[in-house]
Symmetry: C2
Subunit: 233 residues, 2 copies
DNA sequence: CGGCCCCTTGAACTGTGTCAATTTTCGTGG
DNA sequence: CCACGAAAATTGACACAGTTCAAGGGGCCG
């Protein structure tokens, strides 16, 4: 497990460019946390105290509106970081982080982060880079949500998931996490009913194959065609 | 003008915590650019070469889809930064920046940014903080777009503009930039027709007063009621 | 004064949300 | 191992918010 941890961190974009001993020192200062499925790492609105990197498993970041409507901000997989907001005092977590399956993360409290940022300026730059990239992704999604039809948005959401959590099988690309119709809906800004209908259509067209909490993309090409709004395959 | 520049930078969150001489040194390395109304500072897809801070006037950041649909990402006012993506090599501008009125900005090319970040670690931290804040704002908008009705989104968009570009007058809060129905639509993910109808309704209700490229919020309270979906008035 | 934008308003359409009733799937405990 | 219950998914009927399209008015600048 210790070897595992080191392995994930070494590959993580957060730690690129750090010398091996620096990485070890940083890792030593983090706290390991294990979460079971459905357990929360932190809750929206709580004081942000720790920045976390996922080691194995996956977190689901969600936001709820004042009225109780829920949106999935993103999924966080191994090597990825979340809660960068914890770098600064007086901030609240803007979202809730829930373990999607059994998950382990390494987390650093703010005090430690201050030290680390001073000792390893490269670390701050890495986080900065990650945030600029994530800004780009977010504004892409904003644009999609503002301008595109539901079918395209759902197709894109599935393709994104396939990229970050896809597993090749002989049947196609399986999305390797329990994924309900409602999850997909909350990822793409629609309702579970509409998603259900879309999945039924796509199943008929041989593009996906899906069941309870499970999606396999049989024809990524076909999904891309929908996402790009190309003349129907 | 030189005094002006210094003034704006001193107040800008980008430069908080920098000593006066450090600020002067940083300012000296930036290039001053003046833009007339409608002139572009940079275009979506171009190689990102400079990070910019607005000194006076205002920039409009827009993104276009492959199909040519346009979305307004945000407006950038005095003291605010844009194009943080230029910190890292090999990136493209994710949006187009257009001067809304006569505007001047100070810009630093990437090479200079590298030096500055090394010499003034506080600068990198400031940018980091700004990005985490902006992430929060963006995901708020994402959630709005995914879950809320058009009226609420338009009301929110106007309130946000009032906060960053509002000018108190005896008639209410005037949004101090030329703002067409279409601009509002592209800020809130709807069509200019729907915006036009909403404005007509709200004008009737005494909440706003508006004309060609001009919006005055007569009753901020009333707009908030709509944005929060409170029982009418 | 002329022309270009911007804005308004009406009418018709439709994608998607809403709601209710059922069925399917799966884990659990008897 | 089967049955039960909870959670997920399906399906149909219906409603309507908001888009689309068309036609016309009005203000501002050159």
């Amino acid at each position: 497990m210790a070897a595992d941890t080191h392995d994930v961190l070494e590959r993580s974009p957060v730690f690129q460019g750090l010398a091996a001993e620096a990485l070890a020192a940083v890792a030593a200062k983090g706290k390991l946390r294990r979460l079971q499925r459905r357990e929360l790492l932190f809750s929206q609105g709580d004081a942000a105290e720790e920045l976390a990197v996922v080691l194995e498993g996956r977190l689901k970041l969600t936001q709820v509106t004042a009225e109780g409507q829920e949106v999935i901000v993103r999924y966080v997989g191994p090597g990825e970081m979340c809660a960068a907001v914890a770098l600064f005092p007086g901030q609240d977590y803007p979202a809730t982080a829930e373990a999607v399956g059994d998950t382990s993360v390494i987390a650093w409290p703010r005090r430690t982060l201050d030290e680390l940022a001073r000792e390893h300026p490269q670390l701050a730059l890495n986080v900065l880079r990650l945030l600029t990239e994530r800004m780009g992704e977010l504004s892409d999604r904003l644009r999609e949500l503002a301008t595109e039809r539901v079918a395209r948005r759902v197709a894109r959401a599935l393709l994104r998931l396939a990229r970050t959590a896809g597993r090749r099988t002989d049947r196609g690309v399986e999305i390797d996490l329990p994924l309900t119709r409602e999850d997909i809906a909350r990822l793409s800004g629609t309702t579970l009913f509409t998603v259900s209908r879309l999945m039924a259509d796509w199943e008929e067209a041989g593009i996906v194959e899906s069941g309870r909490e499970r999606v396999v993309i049989r024809s990524p090409h076909g999904l891309v065609a929908i996402a790009e709004d190309l003349p129907a395959e």
